[in-house]
């Protein structure tokens, strides 16, 4: 069904070194990394940010539920930009007959807003109600994170290494905490952080 280039194989080996031994790395492209359910969504790995309410869908007019206690000007601007974008997405989704999963939104906000130096992402709202954040560098490197709720995300990494063809691609799902390992293994820091 698929073929794997040498550059991608090299990355698979790198990924295999980077992930813990209990995580299975598939031989099939695109190296879908299967993290056992036992470590997915463990809330003890997440920062203690408090959210209000427990509904599963956010009404179109609602604003962000994440307001950090010591929010910086940069964080506030980012949060407000996201709020505006999410409001637009919710309005459009309503016309198409779907909504926003509040668990997905919570996870996105936690990931994208807590760290002050994380770059602003482009945001899509999928027809399965989940938010997807996208970071691109214009050189072929990109990161897409679909926030699944429950502290889990599906990731797609396209990495163009200097002077190397083709683009390496990896996809899988992991806990938000586990994502840090995947991103570090593929040296995505410059894409993600200012």
């Amino acid at each position: 069904m698929s073929s794997i280039g040498q550059a991608q194989l090299a990355d698979k080996a790198l990924l295999a070194q980077a992930v813990p031994s209990h995580v299975a790395v598939s031989a099939a492209w695109p190296f879908c990394v299967d993290v056992p359910n036992t470590i997915i969504g463990t809330t003890d790995t997440l920062s203690p940010v408090r959210f209000e309410g427990s509904d599963t869908r956010v009404p179109p007019s609602s604003s962000s539920r994440l307001r950090l206690p010591n929010e910086t000007v940069r964080q506030r601007r980012k949060r407000e930009a996201y709020e505006e974008r999410i409001e637009f997405l919710q309005e459009e989704a309503r016309h198409d007959g779907y909504a926003l999963n509040s668990a997905s939104r919570r996870d996105f906000e936690q990931f994208a807003l807590e760290a002050e130096d994380i770059r602003r992402a482009g945001l899509a709202l999928l027809d399965n109600d989940n938010l997807r954040a996208i970071w691109r560098d214009g050189q072929g490197t990109r990161l897409g994170l679909q926030f699944l709720g429950g502290g889990r995300a599906q990731y797609v990494l396209f990495k163009r290494r200097t002077g190397e063809q083709p683009v390496s691609r990896v996809a899988g799902r992991d806990s938000l905490k586990g994502l840090e390992r995947q991103l570090a293994a593929f040296d995505m820091g410059s894409l993600l952080y200012e």
């Binding site: 073929s3 459009e92 709202l125 999928l126 399965n128």
Partner: protein, 147 residues
């Protein structure tokens, strides 16, 4: 699906909801299957151009979707898509699938499908969608103001 593969030098368009357009660019989520789908609906421009009409206007006229002004049509080259994805997924095909007139809708001779995609909600679906999205050469308004 009743037709054969589309010519590689021809172009197709796919309707994008505004929720899947990020900073003016099609997100790969637009090019993944949803549950219950066997293929992605697209429109073959050249088959409409051969009838002498503006193909995009014909797509708008014939579409059975509720086109919104905030939506766009993404234009892609058939060969581009096949070549881009072929190295990773050799099941992908773009085939003619004309629709007959039904339920008050006119026949749509341009309707085609991207088939052979990974099943919905699998981890393979999104990266393949992202690769197809990288083949988008232009986007066009889904609906135009009446002249």
């Amino acid at each position: 699906m009743s037709g054969g593969p589309l010519p590689e030098e021809d172009r197709i368009v796919r309707y994008l909801s505004a929720t899947l357009i990020v900073d003016g660019v099609a997100d790969g989520a637009s090019f993944r299957l949803r549950r219950g789908e066997a293929g992605l609906s697209v429109n073959w421009l050249e088959v409409l151009a051969s009838k002498g009409a503006d193909p995009l206007n014909e797509v708008r006229r014939l579409s059975r979707l509720q086109l919104r002004r905030s939506g766009r049509f993404a234009e892609l080259g058939v060969g581009d898509v096949l070549r881009t994805v072929a190295g990773e997924l050799d099941t992908l095909r773009i085939v003619h699938d004309p629709l007959e007139a039904a339920d008050g809708c006119a026949a749509d001779p341009s309707h085609s499908q991207i088939a052979g995609l990974p099943p919905a909600d699998t981890d393979e679906a999104m990266p393949v969608g992202d690769m197809i999205a990288e083949c988008v050469t232009a986007t066009h308004p889904a609906a135009v103001e009446p002249g």
